[in-house]
Symmetry: C2
């Protein structure tokens, strides 16, 4: 496979489509990695995976306002497009698509997408705007790029399930590829929001994955889930988190609850907790 040497940064859908059309005319396949920028090794792992599956990879870099509630961190979300472009040119990505918010959502914009099923509960309870916003921007990006496949991380596990759901429901002709969560040497899930953490907070944050791993083992042993979740909740607070949105074990397939209160099918443990103004999420297979 030949790789273009340099990274093209495009801001308009017209330029984007011209580049993709060119590739398709050459019979090349196209992969998309949607991001909100502030790229770290977790994103680069997605790009490397995309490069394995597609001849050309587009990375979109867009902090999507429709998935943030007014109270959330849209304004302070880290933005570093020049650095992002530098990182991408090192991993075989030929095109970064960085549209302007006013081009994505021009005046008169009137369409929204809602997802139930896997979008209900967990993040859906605490960030009710998010999955609709994600479904909208991902649908737009899919239609703008028209890739053969798109790559998402398991770090946002519920988001991944939601995306698989609406891709199937809307018949979007795109394969969804999932990549395991990338972690630092202490097991902390890589996240653009880790940049908000002080050194002390970082030390606390690094305990989350171990607590979840212990709870996952506990759940896998057949212990009733209310006890598993209660103990994990207490352990997360004891580790130094100030507030917990949820710690929950759910069916891996669709994030529905285990009605009998024990794990009797593939499962996932998921958590969201706060350190100061920073909200961290993580999840593991049970």
């Amino acid at each position: 496979m030949t790789q273009p040497a340099s990274l093209l940064v495009v801001r308009s859908v017209a330029e984007l489509r011209a580049a993709v059309r060119d590739w398709k005319r050459q019979g090349l396949t196209v992969g998309l990695v949607p991001t909100m920028g502030a790229l770290h090794d977790g994103h680069l792992a997605l790009v490397r995976e995309a490069v394995q599956h597609a001849d050309r990879v587009v990375v979109s870099n867009f902090v999507n306002p429709t998935q943030f509630a007014p109270t959330e961190d849209l304004a302070r979300y880290p933005r570093q497009q020049a650095e992002d472009a530098r990182l991408l040119s090192g991993v075989g990505c030929p095109l970064m698509f960085a549209p302007a918010p006013e081009d994505m959502y021009p005046e008169g914009f009137a369409t929204s997408i809602a997802v139930t099923g896997p979008a209900m509960g967990l993040e859906g309870d605490f960030r009710p705007q998010m999955f609709g916003g994600v479904a909208l921007v991902v649908t737009k990006l899919f239609n703008q790029v028209q890739p053969d496949l798109a790559v998402f991380g398991e770090k946002d596990y519920q988001q991944l399930m939601v995306i698989r759901r609406f891709v199937r429901d809307l018949d979007l002709p795109i394969d969804i590829v999932a990549v395991p969560t990338q972690r630092d040497e202490a097991g902390l899930a890589l996240s653009s929001r880790n940049a908000y953490l002080s050194q002390d907070e970082l030390a606390v944050a690094r305990r989350l994955n171990r607590i979840l791993a212990a709870a996952a083992a506990d759940a896998a042993s057949g212990r009733p889930l209310p006890g598993v979740e209660r103990d994990a909740y207490a352990a997360v607070l004891k580790a130094g988190f100030e507030r917990i949105d949820y710690v929950a074990v759910r069916r891996a397939e669709d994030l529905s609850v285990f009605r009998d209160g024990v794990v009797d099918a593939p499962a996932r443990i998921l958590a969201a907790a706060w350190l100061g103004k920073t909200r961290l999420i993580d999840n593991l297979a049970v």
Copy 2:
């Protein structure tokens, strides 16, 4: 342009996509005409228009449950797929796509689309489920077929505006082509629901377009719209309609109201009225 002699009827997305892929490999362009079947000359005009713009035309034939309210005429909506297929083979359509409801909306389906803007008011007030259902099924059909263009009738003028809106908002890479309303010799807009009308009701129905034409001339003359609409409303009742949902003059571009109460830009007059259990709609340029 060569035309295949016979009509293929396919029921699965896999078969549909295989046929379309085949055409695209040959470099042929593809047009889509979404219908709910019960085809009449109005639909055939859409197909003939599509044939002018695309090398191959797919007509979808699906009575979409998500755009009917529980109280509406989903169950009695006319269905005549064999006759539809016969009609289509006469106008150069090589493929009718007639999916099953359980394949379009399988168990676990969890996605919906909402449109504001041009979907607000008029039909949106009286059939609140409709445009969301239309947006959903049309988005699905667009993603299933992946046509270069799709053809819709001006008969459903507000629907046409809604479709143009969400196609732009979701960046669907499909050209929307509009076709003027087809009418019978008395000017009655052709509609599958005309089949519900008795002979007496038909005579009344045929008066609607003339009343709207007179009102449109009235509005175009600069007369204040409240008076125009009030007189048209009275005339529709006097003609024999039993109930009126709306008679309204709106901006042609986005169906917003004329704030100053007079026509000072391209306009459209739109109406919905009842004869027995049958609801008829029509519209004309002002």
